[in-house]
Symmetry: none
Subunit: 217 residues, 2 copies
DNA sequence: GGTAATATCAGCGAAAGCACTGATGGAGAA
DNA sequence: TTCTCCATCAGTGCTTTCGCTGATATTACC
């Protein structure tokens, strides 16, 4: 037995102890995996990556002390070949794209099965990526079409952004028309395009999205 | 009356398979617990409770198909003595108060340790409750310092609270009527009363308010 | 000069939201 | 037993949202 008996060496980072320990417990059922370290926040993760140089890193994106995106950035800075598999509850495409750009190599919803988790880990270990189909499509379309939008507000035009902020501030289209000195039909049209670009069905969802992105207040 | 030794019989409900299975895996390490059923949503949970009559119910509050608060309500309807332990990531007091009123007997953050989880389960099984200290204080203050609303949700009736959560989740009144099995007019009425009590003009403002209060998942 | 993106306006129709009012039955308290 | 709160359903009427289509003017880029 060598110390390196080709197990896949993992670091698991998640601030929710119950969740993290649960996942670790589960991974320990598989012989092929070796959880060498657990982290509660991004800072600890970056240090652990430097110290242990794991094969694959499993991490939640919403962690205290250091935002997940920033954490990925730091990790990649330390080890440009780091294989980061993000575990998350959000299936918003915006999230996926952002993570992909940040350098994550895989993205897995917490709704996923344990089999999928194992598959994803193996994929990353072999140098592959693991993203849901939706993202693949989106990345293609951004590659084909001009490589623009991505950021939540980036895809909006100037006027649409103005309308967006007034909508999430709770104004009706008529209000907005008055405030921006335009026809209420124009305001409606802008509003409609915002909803379409943001891929939400109604104002309620739009505001939820804005809240998630920290765009309220 | 205990046919199968005196293990504490548990149902675990969480829509995130990874999280759920992790927790289950962890509970199986303890001899004193017996996980008799896992559920992915509120609907399944209610059915499972009726069927298995567990000692303690572990549940996430943010689940698809049926909002957690609604689910608790239904569970309590079926078994008024059901011991519901809520697992969540949110430590907002509003949530705790609402859950307490809904009939949950315990509240545990996912940041908690496994020991705390075991302690909480045992507490509920013995007929005690398990809430963070902050809540105890808050509940006292509502009892003593009379009158004061304290909670945003405090002024709402049980049904109004259910509707509230579904509204801020982005559902239309028709959706809500379906989910709560009521006429769409009734749902509209509840919604209207929620808007009035919260002193906001429309859904947009309501969601902003909810976001400010940390009531969005 | 052609092309593309943007900002503007408008109409239509379906759906949803919102403000009223009124009515019934049940549960619990005074 | 009254009385109040709650949950339920319903109707009317108006406003707002939302999806779709189509049109024009300006700007800017190649």
């Amino acid at each position: 037995m060598t110390i390196n008996d080709n197990k896949i060496r993992l670091i698991v980072a998640d601030d929710h102890t119950l969740v993290r320990q649960g996942i670790v417990q589960m991974l320990r059922q598989h012989d092929e995996f070796d959880v060498i370290c657990e982290c509660e926040d991004g800072v600890a993760l970056v240090q652990a990556v430097v110290k242990h140089n794991p094969d694959v890193i499993l991490m939640d994106i919403s962690m205290p002390k250091m935002n997940g995106l920033v954490a990925i950035d730091r990790v990649i800075q330390q080890r440009s070949d780091a294989k980061v598999l993000v575990l998350t509850m959000h299936d918003e495409i915006e999230y996926m794209v952002a993570l992909h750009r940040a350098g994550a190599r895989g993205y897995l919803l917490k709704e996923s099965s344990t089999d999928q988790l194992a598959t994803a880990i193996r994929a990353l270990h072999r140098g592959r990526t693991f993203f849901p189909d939706v993202l693949e499509k989106s990345l293609e379309s951004t590659a084909n079409g001009r490589g623009k939008p991505v950021s939540l507000l980036g895809g909006l035009t100037r006027r649409e952004r103005e309308v967006f902020f007034l909508v999430v501030a709770g104004h009706t289209t008529k209000d907005i028309a008055g405030l921006l000195d335009m026809s209420h039909k124009t305001a409606e049209n802008h509003r409609g395009r915002v909803l379409a670009k943001m891929e939400v069905a109604n104002t309620a969802e739009l505001i939820r999205l804005a809240a998630r992105e920290g765009l309220l207040e």
